[in-house]
């Protein structure tokens, strides 16, 4: 601002009363217009982030005095078998829920993009619909389907294959499979639509040229579709990684307030620390650890996804 004010040429000096130039005014009004976002972001976004950095080193139950405890919270969390268990759970549920989902989404997108399928618009809309439903509603419906009893829908279905009824709410793999299924069902349509958009942006002449040169379908996919789709794949892998490291609502609603360790995810763990056990220090420490983990995993995933098609 200072620079702007000192610069105008001296012949056209503004009258002494007007202290702001038109340019400055424009700039100011622009800042004013965008300020609501930044003010609100500072209050509801930036402040909590900084505060949780601070809280990570304190002992606080929400009421009393805060007490500086140094790295004690981190020691407690990193020394807690349940934290590592929850991290393992998060990764397993994340892999179970997203890897098959991204493959299926690519296949579905191919199918929707091909000339063979009719009623395309109908399928596009209906495949996207699960994404619009509320997570809590999904978890309740799946909770009824993945019922522990013999008469639960999924237990009847596995019964057709001669498998004994599974206690979906209490067994190691039952809980994970049930939660991963919810995530799969809810997000597969979202990724399909993103892939579909990516597929449609690939110019047709590339395929025509390849066909004239005698390329097979496999070669077309291998050398045209996948490389051209790469940015989209990186995008979905990136979002899915972050999303699956933050799984929270599904296990919370599915397990209720039992917080059974089979379905404990990292975010559920830190939520329980803060809002059930009122230990805000360890909860913030967990959040910071999760922050580092997310950066780490996202970078690894980006690196791998970048190599696709090379």
């Amino acid at each position: 601002m200072e620079v702007l004010r000192t610069e105008p040429d001296h012949k056209k000096l503004p009258p002494p009363k007007r202290r702001l130039s038109e340019k400055t005014k424009d700039a100011l009004s622009a800042y004013l217009y965008i300020s609501p976002f930044f003010i609100l972001f500072a209050i509801f976004g930036l402040f909590p982030i900084l505060f949780s950095f601070y809280l990570g080193f304190q002992r606080w139950n929400g009421f009393g005095e805060m007490e500086f405890v140094g790295l004690r919270n981190f020691e407690l969390i990193l020394g807690d078998a349940l934290f590592w268990k929850s991290l393992g759970n998060t990764l397993i549920i994340g892999i179970l829920g997203t890897v098959p989902q991204l493959f299926v989404a690519i296949l579905l997108a191919f199918a929707l993009n091909s000339a063979i399928v009719r009623f395309k618009n109908f399928f596009r809309v209906s495949i996207f619909l699960p994404y619009v439903t509320s997570t809590v509603a999904v978890a309740i419906v799946f909770g009824i389907m993945f019922n522990n009893q013999d008469f639960g829908l999924i237990n009847i279905i596995v019964g057709w294959f001669g498998i004994d009824p599974i206690s979906w709410g209490t067994t190691e793999w039952g809980v994970k499979i049930a939660i991963a299924t919810m995530i799969f069902w809810r997000w597969v349509g979202y990724n399909t639509i993103i892939y579909l958009a990516g597929l449609q942006s690939i110019p047709h002449d590339l395929y025509e040229a390849a066909k004239i040169d005698g390329a097979t379908i496999y070669q077309q996919i291998r050398y045209i579709t996948i490389p051209m789709l790469k940015p989209v794949i990186i995008f979905t892998v990136f979002l899915s990684t972050i999303g699956s490291l933050q799984i929270f609502a599904e296990p919370l609603v599915f397990l209720g307030r039992t917080f059974r360790e089979e379905g404990m995810t990292v975010v559920l763990y830190l939520w329980r620390e803060a809002f059930v056990n009122m230990a805000f220090g360890p909860a913030s420490a967990t959040a910071l650890i999760l922050f580092v983990i997310i950066i780490l995993f996202s970078s690894i995933n980006m690196y791998i996804a970048n190599r696709i098609g090379k």
């Binding site: 609501p36 407690l76 019922n147 522990n148 209490t170 009122m278």
Partner: protein
Amino acid sequence: MRRLKKWLGLGLSATLLTFSLAACNGDKSSTESTNGKVNLNFWVFGSAGYDVLVEEYMKDNPDVNIKVNFTEMGDLHNNLFTSIAAGSGAPDLTMIEVSQVSKFLDAKDSFYNLYDYGAKDVQENYLDWVWNNGQTPDGAFMLGLPTDIGPTTMYYRTDVFEEAGLPTDPEEVAALTDTWEEYHQLAKTIKDKTGKNIVDGPELLFNALRDQSPEQYFNEKDELIIEDSPYVKEAYDFTTKLIQEGLVGQNGLWSPEWGAAMAEGSYGTLLAPSWMVANIKANAPDAGGKWSVTTMPEGAGNWGGSFIAIPKESKYPKEAYEFIEWLTSPEQQLKSFSNNGLFPSAPSVYTQDEFTGFTDDYFNDLPTANIFAKAAESVKPVYMGKHYPIVNAELITALTNVAVNKADPQKEWEEAIKRIEAQLKRQ
């Protein structure tokens, strides 16, 4: 991403605008009604029916204006916690559930001590153990006046008892289950004759035994005592013994299966507090007459109940106290009972004709009020402690593992203790 931010910003500005408009609105309404009046904000959960009583109070006290705010129980305590921690936004009056009392006693600087406003004078109106739950262990600070309680009793299915060739009359059933040992025998009889379980899940059986003991998870210094004190372990061992003998169902408390079983009558007894009546009627509307109720083996415990406290933010503690003293008086508790089924914490109600004459046609016209009153008077005082929910959740997990996954009870107990200690270390 940029578009997302734009919409986010727009949405947030819109929300802010709405908030500020709402704030203007709120100011207006409060100035309109302030003309020399005392305005009290009252936070309430559940179906207490206090709105009717508040109307009545305002008619007799025209200079007091009370606004009742209904919220769900969990939300109310969360909101109260946030506003107390933030130091602003708390109401003039609030209900606090008994399991949350210790937590808020921790922040007792944010509440008025009701002993300073004359609570000692009404102490004799209430059951001793209820009164003790509302104050600090040293008895110097009273957080709230007690409203209702939840004395535990034994509900049972008359059709299951008939099928097993057992008596169905409440007196005879009570005589049949004087002790838990007899209850164990009864469980075996019902299993042999009908193939049905004695209870639907492990939790209520464990709760029933636990709530009868003179001490539970913590002593009054908030030290964990379940490893040295025999009572909780005994409750745990009795429950796991019955589980291992195949006499206990596997349903989790409050799950849909649990509700369905209540309607079907696929088990013999339900060990639960007086307020469970509402749940039974809601889950099994067509089973009227098949459910009956009697006293529990070896006396009763208490589960639930509330207190009304005055946060320090209130400018009118005197007026607020006068109101709660009126609201929790025996006369008003009798009204809450006949209108909404809230079980009184003032024993003088138990002998009033309107109370003793109360019968419930759902339970074969039994004088249920009397049965619960008898239970209420045999409850012993228990210190719960502010970390009660942590310990309870882990023990329930252990019991579920034994019931559903056929895990070893002793190993589960030790694992639960380890998890509890890990969490308590952080407090």
